[in-house]
């Protein structure tokens, strides 16, 4: 197991380097000049010389390979460069806003797992009964309703009933946990509903698949309690594909909250993405993509490790 973990960790490094390289060039292929956008925004019509000077100052006139080397050398030292708009270090800029996004993604995942596990399990165990059908309607609803629209419904419902929305300035999780969680609950629910539907449906089908396996019959033939048959023999095997879905969706959420953050006006990196694109903030975009990609890779690693912990066949194969 230790060896497997070490192997997987080592494989992360080349992946991240590849991501960094790709991001660097992709961002530079995008049309538009951030300096031009900024200066025109501030002063109206600007002469080309000023733009050139400003570009020079920000290092954008350096040859591409110099920019690339600077970028790549900075990364391992935790230096992602500065925002072209605010001119503050990206690590500070992103660091200030990523916590809320991670928190939201985590909360949404937690919420959806809490919803999905009982629903998926119940739907599988009571397959073909009205119970199963009701759950199916709920989960298909979750897949069909876009989460931002569901978010708007929640806002309208809150306004109609409580008459106010959760406060916009979010307290930190450790300062005032309850207030923090209350603020995040509704956005988490709006994303988590769709997410839980995906998990519940996945779980239902994998439980059904596992329960039809020969080893479940063996477990019953041994005279084990039905509860043990289902939980020990069934669930552990059924969890394998489900873990993948939970992990991938979580990774997706970290960068994928763009619309939901807009709807609930949450100052996370989802909103930051929109701003970076609006202002053509090349380096900011570069940093954001890199952060999201990195979290994707790391969560995938976590899923792989979890997989190995659950399934001995993977552990011993390596």
């Amino acid at each position: 197991m230790l060896r497997y973990t070490a192997q997987r960790l080592l494989l992360v490094i080349p992946t991240l380097i590849a991501v960094a390289v790709l991001v660097f060039f992709l961002v530079r292929v995008l049309p538009g000049d951030p300096v031009e956008v900024k200066l025109i925004g501030e002063f109206g019509d600007v002469n080309p010389e000023l733009i050139y000077k400003e570009r020079k100052r920000l290092g954008l006139e350096d040859p591409l390979h110099i920019q690339f080397v600077n970028f790549m050398v900075g990364l391992p030292q935790g230096d992602m460069g500065i925002s072209l708009v605010t001119e503050r270090p990206l690590t500070q800029e992103i660091g200030a806003r990523i916590t809320i996004s991670i928190e939201l993604a985590f909360f949404a995942t937690l919420l959806s797992v809490i919803i999905a596990f009982p629903l998926g399990t119940a739907a599988a165990l009571y397959r073909g009964t009205w119970f199963d059908y009701v759950i199916r309607i709920i989960t298909i609803g979750g897949l069909a309703v876009p989460s931002f629209w569901f978010g708007m419904l929640i806002i309208m419902a809150l306004l109609a009933t409580v008459g106010k929305l959760p406060s916009l300035d979010t307290a930190g999780l450790f300062e005032d946990p309850m207030a923090n969680l209350y603020t995040l609950f509704w956005p988490a629910l709006s994303v988590g509903y769709r997410y839980s539907s995906v998990i519940a449906r996945m779980l239902r089908s994998s439980i059904l698949e596992v329960l039809a396996e020969d080893y479940i019959r063996t477990a019953r033939a041994k005279g084990l309690y039905e509860r043990i048959v289902i939980v020990k023999h069934g669930m552990r095997n059924a969890l394998l594909p489900t873990v993948t879905v939970v992990g991938l969706e979580f990774a997706f959420l970290i960068g994928g909250l763009v619309v939901t953050e807009q709807v609930f006006n949450i100052n996370g990196i989802g909103k930051m993405f929109v701003e970076a694109v609006q202002f053509n903030d090349m380096t900011m975009l570069q940093g954001l993509v890199l952060i999201v990609a990195t979290s994707f890779v790391l969560i995938n690693l976590l899923v792989d490790l979890l997989y190995a912990a659950l399934d001995p066949r993977i552990r011993y194969q390596a």
Binding site: E213, T218, Y225, I228, H233
Partner: protein, 679 residues
């Protein structure tokens, strides 16, 4: 034996068991009023073809059928004084794994992949006997030892995927034995295993049953296994038990025409071919709408008007023992058993003579598969020697049998000859032309193939007619649509199907019919050689006989040569002129069929023949056999020297360093063993 003794002696008494499945297409009565008894400590076999209800019977006793779709009814199911038919589920659960345990067919899938073997063995001990984990662990080691798995302390910490198929089945037996049950139900326990491993497992079961006085219900389709191990036999056909008796009665004096047919349709390993196999025509009835009266009526050679009434179960004629049969004409059937399916003299037909001209010549064939094995971050390449230096030839109209256990390279050899996989080395000549990548297309027409699985080797989206027409069209053998369709009709008739079946899809046909389509597809190109890769192993015995006869008839009519690849030694003996025995990619022995079977020289051939049971309890009772120990080594890491050296009873140090050459033991009889010199 008086009545009370008899009562005490009976462990399981089933009366009028009925199992119905409610399916979308209607109600299938999979078990229809069967009654039988199992005595304490006896080895009872339930034998029958697929779909006859034998497994369903077993699962219904254990109450393991899906409750939503299966309805089980019985007058009584008395097990050791308790009526299981009325027992509440909670008490039934206490019985399962405690007093009745079950061993299943597929050792690869019957164990939970994410739990250790030890955990899976201790579960029933902890549940039923309330042992502590520590006590259970000690007992598990004892059990693992008892079922013959070496190194038990380490083995119980391992997972199923670290066990071979045979070892997994041993572990299953250990689980079944854990609480020392009174009855073990073994449902086709060796069907998925190789013949030398099968012998190990069955010997183990028999030994345990004898030593611990545990009764065993052995469910199987293999008549040889029944003859070798069962005390008594129940023969099932279409959801009913049609004959029951002691093993010597059933094999020695069968009284039901179906039993007679079943016995006659299996080729014999221990005897030279007597002629064509007897076949039971047609196929078992559809249980969605079974015929009135005797269910065997439509296939029975002696059916008459009266058979439209269901025959009662009566004592078989001329017997005082417990031998019963459900047939109106049992007396006639019993007396005329030898001629029921045509007299032996009438059907006697020697294997057709073959030509002298060599059609296929294989010289020094090697088929290595280069695979990479990952070990940590590094991976290294390893050659799997699927076929290692094989030479043989096939003459016109001749059948050469290729036989061996899994991993022996028989299928790889067939594929290499056809250039489905390009061979690593060696020359293959067909009709005097050396084959290579360039000219293989030209001889594809002359060399065709029939595959094992008639279910997956036909495209499910094409009609039978299209499947057969395609090769004719591609090779431009007939001009015009109507000429091609005529040829399709001709082909279907040739393989014993009807021209109207051209409009059917493969899933609308039975397994036997599909294999006939597979044969017709091969014939469409008018080949001279057909490589038959396990063509009958997926089929029931009665259907298997039909296909074997068909292949022989086609050989006679069309002068075809066959390379017949199979693991069933008896079938290979029956159909082949010459036989090649393979083990781990190497040819062990080659010879003319009867010589090789009656006078095997190589220790592996001898062990292989010893391991395969013969459907005759008299012979089995007195048979001295050497049972090979251990598993077939992994082809990834074959033994040095002679590949058989790790399991050979005659092994010496020399064998481990020297690779034996295939030397002529006698004219046309080659043996690859340094211990066997020319006579």
């Amino acid at each position: 034996m008086n009545d009370t003794q008899e009562k005490n002696d009976v462990l399981l008494d089933v009366e009028d068991l009925e199992v119905e499945f409610h399916t979308g297409a209607g109600v299938v009565r999979a078990v229809d009023g069967t009654s039988f008894k199992v005595h304490r400590g006896e080895f009872l076999s339930i034998v029958g073809e697929s779909g006859c209800g034998k497994s369903v019977t077993a699962l219904s006793l254990m109450r393991l059928l899906p409750r939503k779709t299966a309805a089980v009814k019985a007058k009584k199911i008395m097990f050791d004084g308790i009526d299981l038919s009325t027992l509440p589920e909670a008490e039934m659960r206490e019985l399962r794994g405690r007093h009745i345990s079950m061993i299943f067919q597929e050792p690869m899938t019957s164990l939970n992949p994410v739990l250790t073997i030890g955990d899976q063995i201790t579960e029933p001990l902890i549940t039923h006997l309330k042992m502590s984990q520590k006590e259970a662990d000690i007992r598990a080691i004892e059990l693992i030892n008892m079922v013959g798995i070496p190194d038990p302390e380490r083995r119980i910490t391992q997972y199923p995927h670290q066990f071979s198929g045979g070892m997994r089945q041993r572990a299953m037996i250990a689980i079944g034995l854990a609480c020392e049950p009174k009855l073990i139900i073994a449902d086709e326990p060796t069907t998925a295993l190789d013949v030398t491993i099968q012998a190990q497992i069955l010997e183990l079961l028999k030994d345990i049953s004898d030593r611990l006085g545990i009764a065993v219900i052995l469910i199987t389709h293999n008549l040889g296994v029944v003859a070798a191990y069962a005390d008594r036999v129940n023969v099932m056909y279409a959801a009913r038990i049609i004959e029951r008796g002691s093993s010597s009665n059933i094999f020695g004096a069968p009284a039901h025409p179906y039993t007679v047919g079943l016995m006659r349709s299996v080729p014999r390993l221990d005897k030279p071919r007597v002629g064509r196999l007897a076949t039971i025509e047609g196929m078992p009835p559809n249980l969605l709408a079974p015929p009135q009266g005797c269910r065997f009526r439509d296939r029975c050679p002696i059916a008459e008007q009266k058979c439209e009434e269901t025959p009662p179960t009566t004592t078989a004629p001329g017997t005082i023992e417990d031998h019963t049969v459900a047939c109106w004409k049992n007396e006639f059937a019993k007396e005329n058993a030898p001629i029921l399916y045509g007299s032996e003299t009438a059907i006697e037909k020697e294997k057709s003579a073959h030509g002298e001209k060599v059609l296929l010549n294989v010289n020094g064939l090697k088929q290595y598969f280069n695979i990479s094995i990952r070990e940590g971050l590094k991976s290294h390449k390893v050659d799997i020697r699927a076929v290692d230096d094989m030479s043989f030839n096939v003459r016109e109209g001749e059948t050469v049998g290729l036989v061996g256990e899994s991993g022996c390279g028989k299928t790889s050899a067939g594929r290499a000859i056809l250039h489905l996989d390009n061979p690593t080395a060696g020359n293959i000549e067909f009709d005097g032309n050396l084959l290579n990548g360039g000219n293989i297309a030209a001889v594809r027409r002359d060399m065709q193939v029939i595959f094992q699985d008639p279910f997956s080797s036909l495209n499910p989206r094409m009609k039978v007619g299209q499947i057969l027409e395609e090769p004719i069209k591609v090779h431009k053998l007939r001009d015009g649509k109507s000429a091609r369709l005529d040829r399709v009709a001709e082909l279907l008739t040739q393989v014993g199907l009807y021209p109207y079946m051209a409009d059917r899809y493969p899933h609308e046909l039975s397994g036997g019919q599909r294999q006939r389509v597979g044969i017709a597809r091969a014939l469409a190109l008018e080949p001279r050689l057909i490589i038959c890769d396990e063509p009958v192993s997926a089929l029931d015995v009665s259907v298997q006989a039909q296909i074997i006869n068909l292949l022989e008839d086609l050989q006679n009519d069309l002068g075809l040569a066959y390379v017949f690849i199979a693991h069933d030694l008896a079938v290979v003996r029956h159909i082949s002129h010459r036989v090649i025995v393979m083990y781990l990619g190497k040819v062990m022995e080659v010879g003319e069929g009867n010589t090789l079977y009656d006078n095997p020289q190589h220790p592996y051939t001898q062990a292989l023949l010893d391991a395969a049971p013969v459907p005759d309890p008299e012979i089995e009772r007195n048979r001295q056999r050497t049972i090979l120990e251990g598993d077939i080594p992994s082809p990834l890491n074959p033994p040095s020297g002679c590949v058989f050296s790790t399991r050979c009873p005659m092994v010496t140090d020399e064998c481990k360093s020297m690779v034996p050459e295939l030397n002529d033991f006698a004219l046309g009889h080659g043996v690859a063993c340094i211990k066997i010199g020319a006579s």
